[in-house]
């Protein structure tokens, strides 16, 4: 579990995490199974996550964000991934391109429901579910952890998104 030092808490239920790395693995259709299999194995994930699913990895999580794409989020600098021959796919470091916010449950569900048309009822959004949607017109990747909802948002939008979420919190009283 990530240690407290990395969590800077602004308001009680919205916090930002830093110090993680995000690697995108994009494979060609016919070589996805093989490429994804080797990545999953290398990062300690039990299986290749299906669409809309996240798979626990050692000190991180493996997200399926596109039929041909995996995002490996590692909270602590883990070992390098096996290189991927270009005729199977390509990799890209996106660590600097996002911010990672976490909103504590149960406030997270109500708060997010103010910004997007996702079905957040328990059966439709269980722990481990990954959703690609937009919050306040900002494209985000969010997934359900045990006690939080995590949100990866483009870095340039992070201040705008936080301000919107915090104002929504005030509105709810």
């Amino acid at each position: 579990m990530p240690d407290a030092a990395q969590l800077s808490t602004a308001t009680p239920s919205i916090s930002e995490r830093t110090g993680w790395t995000l690697t995108q693995i994009h494979a060609w259709p016919e070589s996805f199974a093989q490429a994804a299999g080797s990545v999953a194995a290398a990062c300690g994930a039990s299986s290749i996550p299906a669409p809309g699913q996240a798979a626990e990895a050692t000190d991180g999580v493996l997200l399926r964000v596109h039929p041909q794409r995996l995002w490996l989020l590692q909270y602590v600098k883990a070992g390098a991934l096996p290189d991927l021959p270009v005729d199977q796919g390509v990799m890209l470091d996106l660590s600097q391109s996002r911010c990672l916010l976490r909103i504590a449950m149960p406030a997270a569900i109500d708060l997010i429901a103010g910004f997007c048309g996702l079905d957040l009822r328990a059966p439709a959004f269980p722990v481990g579910a990954v959703r690609l949607t937009s919050l306040h017109r900002i494209p985000v990747t969010l997934w359900r952890e045990a006690s939080h909802v995590a949100i990866l948002a483009p870095r340039s939008f992070s201040q705008s998104l936080r301000e919107a979420l915090e104002e929504a919190l005030r509105h709810r009283g």
Partner: protein
């Protein structure tokens, strides 16, 4: 003339609570559970408004949303609310209301003089006059000034709305609208079948018609039945009950729009005034009840004329007797219960029934309670100025003279009932006219939406309860659940059929008000029909019937009945107009929710946002991004600052935040082939470690965007686009790859936010970078123009390209976004030491004008490659997107407007972007072209600009034309020159 009073006991009000409120400054009191209307009546106040056109005195006539007269303004200043319907406003302590649309006061309103000219002010009179004097439109402006002040109802505040609104998106299996017997039973059955249910009720109490029902439902007293239902609801786990919540619109995909009003008692604890629910349901059940229709007779708009059901509600729900001597006129059985309750309460009741025969039980009811029953009769007219005093009755068939005149202080009327199926009508489902019930019944929707209870034309509460259960069971089954099946009761339920009243021929049509809120009279409908506006929609628009704030809730069917009598076509044949959302007026602020002022749209910030602000940048918001505009030193203006920034950059060195440029990682074996197909110039032959400027066309051959692409390896490019077109280019490239060229193995990823980008330009650019970036040889030969190299800053890898937008020796440095601030501070300090500075957007734009580079104002979505002087970039060895359609004849004409440079003929003069280029003396027409971008040029010592002119340099180089700018009162003689003002040979670039 006060008539109403509070009964000593009864009603769903808390008699211990004392709510202080005021009407037109008069201090009054009411109780918790009162509406503003019930509290006013309890204080003997009935006359509360003036009518729209004739300013006739108007009183409370309804008990809910069907109220057409009692519109008042609540509060004042920024929190005032015009056109509030008194009968739907929940009373709370401190509520202040006052009359509207009357001057100087409610009692003495000068507007009432209009009644003297009623023959002149008939339907559509304003189409027949106000056209002169003269032929021009100015005369109408004069009349309009007065008409606009006379029109409108309440007055809206011009202060910003101080309140907050919230938005909630939610899902459910079944949304039930309305909590009468049908809605409550539907919720119970659906929940017991395991469905996830939302029950929305507009009122602040659950129960609908049951709240005023003194009878029984399923052999239980209505109040007791209701209490047990409400108790069960509070214990149910999968029913969410939303009180004070109006379902205003049904949209595609069984998505419903609801607005919830805050409980006034919680105004201090709940910050939002209204909450906008967007409910995505699998199925919807409309249990919104039915609305009673008024009767048409002369003077039917006088204060004291009320709907019978409203009188029943005030009596039973709020323990208020609206008057002491009640004449109750009905065409159907529904009014008898109210007659009985009035009599039991000790009031004098005369019951006028249009029918000649009624059922035995109703006879017994009338006799047992001392009601003076008169059959086969109907009301012909009323008398009384501020309140009804007498009513004339006569045979219901409209034949024969007035029989007798009865003294009274309340005329309660029931002309039949209209099922509330507005929401279904919004879905395009046409209702069907049922002649025997005299009502439009809802049609079948081909969407999972059902009407139940009196909204489906069932009049008895037992039938309503059963239809709720039956339809809910069917809904549960449709969603794969089990529920006890019941048959759906047939519409109707009266023992004796309803009998509509025919208008007596001798009545004064100008005194029969069909649409109370817009003062539309029977005479207006006759005139509209006579003049050819007889289709329902034409009738509505010509007379403005049903176009007021109540949207014809109580006037639509009576008007059609009148029209059918006049045009002798059946109401079913004529048909009704389409009801549009919203069902009831909705605050525009609630629809906007939080998306307003600062939060209207999110704003993007560069990773260097804070650090450039520390460097003294003034920011400018350019659509999506906030960008550094200029860096004033000791209170420089914009112009002083950007000119200084340009000088320092040209003379020494300048650094600029370019992080907002669109950046796309193009990876894969076919990346080079892909770029070759989208750019006009070739990218396949490029060596790794080089950058190239490229232009992209739209399919129609017009220039879409430009930017540089850097080849990082055999199979990876780093593409940059303009800030403004980044999102459009990304979606366009994804479209091409996925839908047209799926065979290409290419991966596209936006990396705009991954990199902080700093442009370093000027003679000292090399020294500045060399002092800060390690592991990189900056010598000209090692790092030539348009080359791409990697370096390291404080141990962090960064990527550089020797690209110049300013025409100086220049580089663009990209480093991981979080490391950008440190790099900026380092480069900023070195720049200061070298006599340089930071420059912003204004200077960036000016520098590129000096080099004749095209920017936003030139890429206006209408220019071709040749127009921009970039024709020679187009490859002839391969084809590309837009290559065919750019050959169309009009796009190749040599008299098209081409890019040129502009300098003032007299050195010191200036000119501006947006001026029109024209031959001297040519004062009008489109001229020859226009000025796009201008700046003062410190290097050249005068103003310079870019623009377009027909025939371009070939036709105009060296010649003088006029830069006409009449809108800003200026015109300047300018000479056409080559757009490349500074260092055309590019010696600085290659230094």
């Amino acid at each position: 003339m006060s008539t109403g009073f509070r009964l000593p006991q009864g009603g769903l009000i808390d008699r211990n609570s004392q709510y202080r409120f005021s009407f037109d400054g008069r201090a009054l009191t009411g109780h918790a559970g009162d509406s503003l209307a019930s509290a006013l009546l309890a204080n003997g106040i009935q006359f509360v408004a003036r009518s729209f056109k004739y300013h006739r005195p108007r009183g409370i006539m309804g008990a809910g949303l069907e109220e057409a007269n009692a519109l008042v303004t609540l509060g004042d200043g920024a929190r005032s609310l015009p056109n509030a319907v008194a009968s739907t406003e929940e009373l709370h302590d401190g509520l202040s209301a006052h009359a509207q649309h009357c001057w100087p006061s409610l009692n003495t309103d000068f507007g009432a003089v209009n009644q003297l000219f009623s023959s002149l002010l008939g339907a559509g009179f304003y189409y027949k006059t106000f056209m002169g004097p003269g032929r021009g439109p100015k005369s109408w402006l004069f009349y309009e000034h007065f008409i606009r002040r006379a029109a409108g109802l309440g007055k809206a505040s011009r202060e910003p709305d101080p309140d907050q609104y919230e938005t909630v998106n939610t899902f459910c299996d079944l949304l039930i609208i309305g909590s009468g017997p049908a809605g409550l039973e539907a919720a119970r059955i659906a929940a017991e079948a395991g469905l996830d249910v939302i029950l929305a009720e507009r009122d602040f109490e659950l129960g609908g018609a049951l709240l005023a029902d003194t009878g029984t439902i399923e052999r239980q007293p209505a109040a007791q039945w209701l209490a047990s239902q409400v108790d069960r609801l509070s214990k149910s786990v999968n029913i969410r009950v939303l009180k004070r919540t109006t379902a205003f619109g049904l949209y595609d995909g069984t998505v419903a729009g609801l607005v919830e009003r805050r409980d006034p008692a919680q105004a201090t604890t709940i910050p939002w005034r209204e909450r906008f629910w967007i409910v995505r349901a699998k199925r919807i059940i409309i249990a919104a009840g039915a609305m009673e229709r008024p009767l048409l007779f002369a003077g039917n708009d006088r204060p004291g004329v009320m709907l019978a059901s409203a009188v029943g509600s005030y009596l039973n729900r709020w323990a208020v007797a609206p008057g002491r001597r009640v004449v109750l006129a009905t065409t159907n059985d529904s009014a008898y219960a109210t007659a009985r309750d009035l009599a039991i309460a000790g009031l004098s009741v005369t019951l006028i029934d249009s029918r000649d025969r009624i059922s035995e039980p109703l006879h017994r009811l009338a006799n047992n309670t001392g009601i003076d029953l008169r059959l086969g009769q109907s009301v012909r007219a009323t008398l009384g100025s501020r309140h009804v005093r007498t009513v004339d009755i006569g045979p219901a068939n409209g034949q024969g003279a007035v029989g007798s005149r009865l003294a009274c202080d309340i005329v309660a009327v029931s002309g039949g009932w209209s099922p509330t199926q507005h929401l279904l009508s919004q879905r395009g489902v046409k209702p069907s006219w049922n002649e025997s019930l005299q009502a439009f019944l809802p049609g079948r929707a081909n969407e999972p939406i059902d009407c139940v209870g009196s909204a489906a034309g069932l009049w008895r509460s037992d039938d309503c309860a059963r239809s709720g259960r039956a339809i809910a069971a069917a809904a549960a089954a449709a969603l794969g659940r089990k529920a006890p099946v019941e048959d759906i009761p047939a519409p109707g339920g009266w023992e004796t059929p309803i009998r509509p009243v025919r208008l007596a021929s001798d009545l004064n049509l100008k005194k029969i008000f069909v649409d109370l809120q817009h003062d539309v009279t029977a005479a207006d409908i006759l005139l509209a029909n006579q003049e050819g506006y007889e289709a329902p929609e034409l009738l509505k628009r010509y007379t403005t019937l049903g176009m007021a704030a109540d949207q014809g809730r109580t006037s639509a069917v009576p008007a059609l009945a009148l029209l059918s009598e006049m045009a002798n076509r059946s109401v079913g044949e004529i048909g009704t107009t389409t009801f549009r959302p919203p069902f009831a007026p909705v605050s525009i602020g609630a629809l906007a929710g939080m998306e307003r002022d600062k939060h209207l749209l999110p704003i993007r910030r560069s990773p260097l946002h804070d650090v450039v602000a520390d460097s003294g940048a003034h920011m400018l918001e350019t659509g999506l991004w906030m960008r550094p505009w200029y860096y004033p030193q000791n209170a420089e203006t914009v112009d002083e600052a950007y000119l200084r920034e340009m000088r320092q950059t040209r003379d020494a060195v300048g650094i600029c935040d370019v992080s907002t440029l669109g950046k796309i990682a193009v990876q894969g074996p076919d990346a080079a082939e892909f770029l070759d197909r989208v750019y006009v110039n070739g990218f396949k032959a490029m060596k790794a470690g080089m950058a190239r400027y490229g232009v992209m066309l739209r399919e129609d051959g017009i220039v879409m965007d430009d930017g540089t692409s850097w080849r990082l390896s055999e199979t990876e490019y780093f593409m940059t686009t303009t800030t403004g077109n980044a999102a459009k280019v990304m979606a366009w490239l994804e479209d091409l790859l996925e839908t047209r060229w799926p065979e290409l193995r290419v991966s596209l990823t936006s990396v705009t936010d991954q990199w902080a980008g700093i442009s370093v330009a000027g003679p000292h650019a090399r020294n500045l970078l060399a002092a800060n970036i390690g592991e990189l040889d900056f010598a000209n030969e090692a790092f030539p123009f348009m080359a791409v190299r990697n370096g390291v800053f404080n141990g962090v890898p960064c990527r550089l390209a020797r690209i110049s937008f300013s025409g100086e020796l220049a580089y663009e440095v990209y480093i991981g976004a979080s490391h950008g601030p440190a790099l900026w501070r380092a480069l900023r300090n070195t720049a200061k030491e070298l006599g340089g500075c930071a420059y912003g957007l204004e200077a960036l734009g000016a520098l590129r004008i000096e080099k004749g580079h095209v920017g936003g104002p030139e890429l206006d979505g209408r220019t071709t490659l040749e127009d921009l002087g970039l024709g020679r970039m187009a490859s002839t060895k391969k084809s590309f997107i837009g290559d065919v359609l750019r050959q169309r004849p009009d796009l190749r004409r040599d008299d098209r407007a081409r890019l040129v440079g502009l300098v003032p003929v007299t050195k010191g003069e200036m000119f501006k972007g947006g001026a029109i280029l024209a031959e001297q003396g040519q004062e009008d027409g489109h001229g020859l072209g226009w000025v796009t971008s201008v700046t003062e040029s410190p290097s050249l010592g005068h103003w310079i600009g870019l623009g377009f002119i027909q025939g371009g340099l070939d036709k105009w180089q060296g010649k003088t034309v006029l830069a006409a700018d009449p809108i800003r009162g200026r015109s300047t003689l300018v000479k056409i020159v080559a757009p490349h003002f500074l260092d055309p040979e590019g010696t600085r670039l290659h230094a």
